[in-house]
Structures are given as C-alpha cells and as structure tokens.
Amino acid sequence: MAFTAPNETYSGKVYQVEAGTDKTIVIGGENVLPFNSFEGNMPNRPVIAYEIQDVPPDDWPDTLKKVYEGVSGDPVTWAKYCQDKLNAKAIALRLIGTHPDRQNRSAQDAAKTVKDVLAAIKVPLIILGSNHVEKDTAILVAAAEAAKDKNCFIGKALEENYKTIVAACMANNHKLIAMSQLDINLSKQLNILITQMGFDKERLVTDPMCSALGYGLDYTYSVMERIRLAALTQNDLTMQTPMLGDIGMYAWKVKESTASEAELPVGGALEPRGIAWETLTAGALMIAGAGLLIMRHPEAVNAVEKFIDELI
C-alpha cells in the first residue's frame, strides 16, 4: 500500500524575536516542532552565542581556558575575538564577577563593562547576571540602562526578582530572558506574571533551566518538548516564546568535561570528551526546541552549526 504521510498541522506558532541594532539576529517563528520543516515553516535557524565574562575565566577548565588565552583577560578584547576571529553571530556577556562570592563587582563596574563591550562589537549582545537573586536586580538594571536602545537580550529574570528587571527592560527597549526551574507550570506562570506587568510577550525568551548531558538533561529535554507542544498543539499564547539553552556553563563543570583521562579512564581523551559534552548537550536541547544557545568552545559551536546545516 502507498504510504500516507501522517502530517500534523498545528494551531500555534512560536513568536519571532529579534535582537541587536547593527547586525541583528532573529529567533523563533516556527509553526512546527524543531526542524520538522516537512510539514510547516521554520524560518530561522537556531542562533549560537559565544559566552564571555566580565572577569577572567579562572573557574573554566584548562581545555577551554587555553582557547581564549591572551584575550580572556579583558572582556572587550574577548568579545572582539569572538566576533572577528570566531565569526560569532551573537555574544553573551556573563557578569559573573558581580557575584558576592566572586569579585563582588559593583553595578557601576558592570555598566562600564557593558558599555565598553557594546562599543566594540556589531553583533547583538546578551547580558547575563550572576544568577544571584538580590545582586542581579541592581546589576541588570544598571546594565539595561547602560545598553539603552541597543535591543539586547537581558537575563535572567526569576520569579523572586523579575519585577525590577522587567521594568528596566521595558524602559530601555530590551528583550528579556525569564528563567524558572525545570517545570513547565513554573515557566508558564513566570511568563504570565511578566506580561501582566505590561511587558510584551513577543519580546520574551524562556529559559526552562539548562542541565548538562548526564546531569538532568532528560528533565530539560522533556520540559522543552512539552513547552513546544503546548505552544503548537494547544495554541497556548503564554508558551510561544523562543527558548534558551544556556549550555556552556552547565556542560563545562561536570566531571566528564573536566576530569583527566587518568581520573576517568573509561572516558578516554579529555579534550574531545569535553567538546563532545558541550556539543551533545546543545544538540539534544536544540532538537527539543531551543532556538538560542549560549556556548563556549569554538569546536563545539562549529559542530553544532554543521549539524544545523544538515538539519535544515
């Protein structure tokens, strides 16, 4: 018998979100499950942003640190290196040095870093705090002001601190990343709370919380699949935001990406193992629905870009 293609038509569609002013990126816009372009449209390929930090990456493993040797001492040099030498489509600046347990940098310091980096690059900027609930409110407000009208992604707004961050994003014309902890309902609730403040839902990106391969990836993967299905099959307007996979910071701190071959003989050579860990974490979450990925190792980024080439 002839095979009848069991196509699905969905009632919902993912919002299309644009960032940047000079060179821009657009994510989302699909009305099908990830890469299911055989039955609908996926107008934009997922975007990978290179992660940099406001302070030198002392806590990154050597495999990774050596890639940025000579440039990572200064965020501006680092950002330019990613844009000019690695052809980054976007840069994600993590203000990790503002964390009280790290260098405890001030909001003024953070604002200056943001301004300097923005002045040096043309590609869009993602500005991330240190995930410290209290500190991030001051830091991200200062960062949003410093980047006024530059159309950045700013995050992450959490249930505990979203109000001031949302207000700062509205006042300064930015897009917002909202993070909740591995639960589709929490994610939906946070999106609703944020839009109830008058924030346009089409300027929002959801981070359902990343986890590394082998360390809870199954949870992130399924939450992402469920969010995407809710957006498409139920036309749930609160779940139609593009999703973020904040890959690098999770993938590069687990044993498999950091332990030497002597410590982990079963894992073989460390260098390709670390790269593979970041690569597969990103690949799996992209298949589950992530449209924006933040990554660290250029070889992992290149592998995922080739994978996208083959998928679209």
């Binding site: 993967y221 699949e225 079963v266 073989g268 390709p272 593979a276 799996a284």
Partner: protein, 445 residues
C-alpha cells in the same frame, strides 16, 4: 490500533470469575488497555476474542531481537512519540561498522574496542551493542571469512551482516546463523532471495528502499514471503531526512496503526567529521532509531552517546538512583569532613560534582531515599533523623574518621536537633541549601 478498556471488556467472558486476579472483567479490561496485564491470565476467553485482542494488543512497532544470549539487543515495542508520555522501551543500539575491505589488523582493532567498551553508569552496564559487517568488497568469500573471524573473536557480540548479494548473504548468514544476526540489504531487486535466506536461517531481515512509499510496499511484499521480523531503512542519510522519515514512521505506526512500517529503524550516522557523526548519532537516539551505525567508537564518544541514551530512555516517572554508601571524594584523610545527601542520581551528581570542583577531600554519605531528592525525601519520611542516624551507625564510617561531625544539607537544617539526640556525641553542622554553595562552604572551613 489499541483498543479502549470498554472495547476490550466487550470481548471478555463478563463472568467476573476473578481467576485472572482482578475483581471484575472490567477491571481486567482496563489493565489490558494500559498494557499492565496479559490476556493469558484469563482462562475462559474465546479463541475469537484472543485473535482480535492479540492483534490489537500487539505493540505498534514489532519487537525484534538482534543476537542471542545475555548481550542480545531488544528492539521495537515503542508506543509513544515523546518520552514524557511514557518511557521509551528499548534503548537504541549503537553498532560500529567494519568493512570487509579493511585489513585484519584494522578489523581486530575495532573488535577489541567493542569488547572493551563496557562501562558502568548509575548502575547500568553500557556497551557498544553490535558490529555492522559491511560487504564493501563485493566478494562473497571475503565477506564470509571476515564474519567468521569476528564471530570467533567476539562470540557474544550481536552482528548485522550487510550485503545486497544473495550469495554472500547465504554464505555469511549460514556461518553464524546460531548467533541470530540481522541480515541487512534486502531491496527491490533481491527481495525473494534475501527473504528466503532469512526464512531458512530464522534471522531478522534488514529492508532498504528509497523513500517511505517504496519501503512500505517492500515490507508488505517480504511479509507475504513469510518473513515477519524486519528492521527497516527508508534510505534517509542526511540528518534532515532521518528526522523526517523517523518521525513519519513512528507516527504512522503508533498513531495510525500502519503495520507496514511498524518495525525497528536502522540509521546510518557515519561522517568524516567525528563530532558531527556524534551529533547525528544523538539525533537517532533521541528521535526514534532502533540501531545507529557509527564509523568509530572512541571512548569519549561512547561515554557521551551512552549517557545521552540513558537520559532519553530513562523512565520519566522513576528517578535514577545511586547506591547507598559512603563515597570518598579526592582521597579524604581521617579528618576530612563528612557530608550526607540523598541517593537521587541528580542530587548525587550535582553534589559530588560541586565537591570535586572545590578540590576539598570529603566523605559523602549517600543515603537510600528511594531516589527522592533531599527535601522531597524529608517530606516523605525517607530522610529523617532516625534513618540518617541508623545509616551512619551501620555504615561503619565512625571507624574511618577521627572526628564526629556530620554536615547536613541546609534544606533539612530542622533535623539537626533530632540528629544530635539520635547520634550521641556527634556534632551536627548545617551546610548550604543549594549544592552550588558547597565550594565556598568547604573552602572556608
């Protein structure tokens, strides 16, 4: 197509005799509908009903076995498209390609790697599951020789024998028929002969066609020739084609009851770029392949793919657990701190990861909370002062350490008083609430 509980009930004797162990026929019908009971339990069911129910209850994707013995691989039997709906059943097999045109040294090297690929992760034994022997040379004698040599060196490893030449197929399958290899390579032009070989030697047949129309016609034809166990290949080779065809196949089988594609899928991930090959393999694992053929099996690649497979195929309703014991991290001396946490694998991984990251040697007591996290375990009465005290006493850790201090997770700070009562002479300290506070906590002590 699967029948509902009520539809099944109509076919049962409706005597409520309880012989099946269920209080009523309706209750039994409901269990049958959920695939939690087998029809064999009913002694009085009619032959007619058996036939109807048998067909309806057959899984939408036929179970097919690759190989024999302990290392045999079960494939098929999948019932859903998304892992959050129900656990994916049979983990995708990883098979490494051996070409019969390779040198003996090369072939031996790969077989060695397969034999040494087994590893343990969260209590599961994971390994490269099979060898895909490819008759690249086109020579029947050479193919048979290589297949025999591999079978002799790795007698327990399941084999997939790939050839489109019936003479080569016959010789190779005959040589290792008792190992129940899959014979891959039946196509439109050799279907009769290949089906005959598979039937004679009772081995599953790998069927390849260009596109899903041709594939579904070919499986029907081969089924008509008397072969029931098949593995299918739609000819998809790029990631885009793989995702499309695998999705169509799974949907057609599961949602439309299309039996002509209700078979395990074999996918090919071989690429010159090893990282891209790893990603395409990952796509197969996540999106419905039953076998993924790879060109190389470096240790790091195996670890990454096995881990992904475990993540995708783990039961979303049942948390993975680690063994209850005292774990030594970074070679702790007798005065190193002693911490306790639950045995939910994610908790364990994150806590031990943070401790390793801190470079502070520690003893980590991991207590059996039936896979619940610290706070849930406490709320469910599985992570209580009494149980923790008992575990610490039974573990014998007291004889290993020179102090009597136990550090408990910040979320259960409330337990410290009760624990000091249950563990006389011990000091109970409260650690951070979240694992990510452990580094600072340990280094500042």
């Amino acid at each position: 197509m699967a029948l509902s509980g009520v539809e099944i009930f109509k076919l049962l004797p409706k005597t409520n005799c309880k012989k099946c162990g269920h209080p009523t026929c309706l209750a039994f019908a409901m269990k049958l509908a959920q695939r939690q009971a087998s029809l064999d339990l009913c002694p009085d069911v009619s032959e007619d009903a058996k036939k109807v129910l048998g067909e309806a209850s057959a899984p939408p994707i036929r179970p097919v076995k690759l190989g024999v013995g302990d290392k045999a691989v079960k494939m098929g039997e999948e019932t859903v498209l998304f892992r959050h709906d129900k656990r994916f059943v049979n983990p995708c097999a990883i098979a490494v390609e051996v070409k019969d045109s390779m040198s003996d040294t090369e072939i031996n090297g790969i077989v060695e790697q397969v034999l040494n690929s087994e590893m343990d992760r969260v209590g599961q034994k994971l390994r490269v599951d099979a060898i895909f022997v490819n008759n690249i040379s086109g020579d029947a004698g050479k193919f048979e020789g290589v297949v025999k040599a591999i079978a002799a060196k790795a007698p327990e490893v399941p084999l997939i024998l790939s050839t489109t030449n019936p003479a080569a197929a016959e010789a190779a399958v005959k040589a290792v028929a008792d190992k129940k290899p899959v014979l891959y390579g039946a196509n439109d032009s050799n279907a009769e002969q290949m089906a005959n070989i598979a039937k004679t030697h009772k081995v599953p047949l790998g069927v390849v066609a260009k596109g899903l129309d041709a594939l579904s016609a070919l499986t029907e034809k081969i089924k008509g020739l008397g072969v029931e166990d098949m593995v299918i290949d739609s000819g998809a080779r790029t990631a885009k084609e793989m995702l499309r065809d695998n999705t169509y196949i799974r949907r057609a089988a599961v949602k439309k009851g299309n039996k002509s594609v209700g078979y395990p899928v074999i996918s090919f991930a071989q690429r010159d770029d090893v990282m891209l090959e790893t990603l395409v393999s990952a796509l197969g694992i996540a999106k419905y392949s039953a076998i993924v053929v790879v060109s190389s099996i470096e240790k790091w690649k195996n670890l990454a793919l096995f881990t992904l497979r475990q993540n995708i195929y783990t039961d979303p309703q049942v948390p993975l657990q680690v063994e209850q014991k005292i774990y030594k991290i970074a070679d702790p001396s007798a005065d190193a701190p002693l911490l306790i946490t639950s045995n939910f694998s994610l908790t364990y991984f994150i806590v031990s990861g943070e401790i390793e990251g801190s470079k502070v040697p520690v003893r980590l007591a991991v207590m059996d909370t039936e896979g619940l996290s610290v706070l849930t375990g406490w709320a469910a009465g599985k992570f209580t002062a009494t149980k923790i005290a008992q575990f610490i006493k039974d573990s014998g850790v007291e004889n290993e350490i020179s102090h009597k201090e136990l550090i408990i997770p910040g979320y259960v700070a409330i337990l410290s008083g009760a624990l000091e009562d249950k563990l006389p002479g011990w000091k109970i300290s409260v650690g951070p609430r979240e694992a990510n506070g452990l580094g600072v906590f340990l280094r500042s002590r």
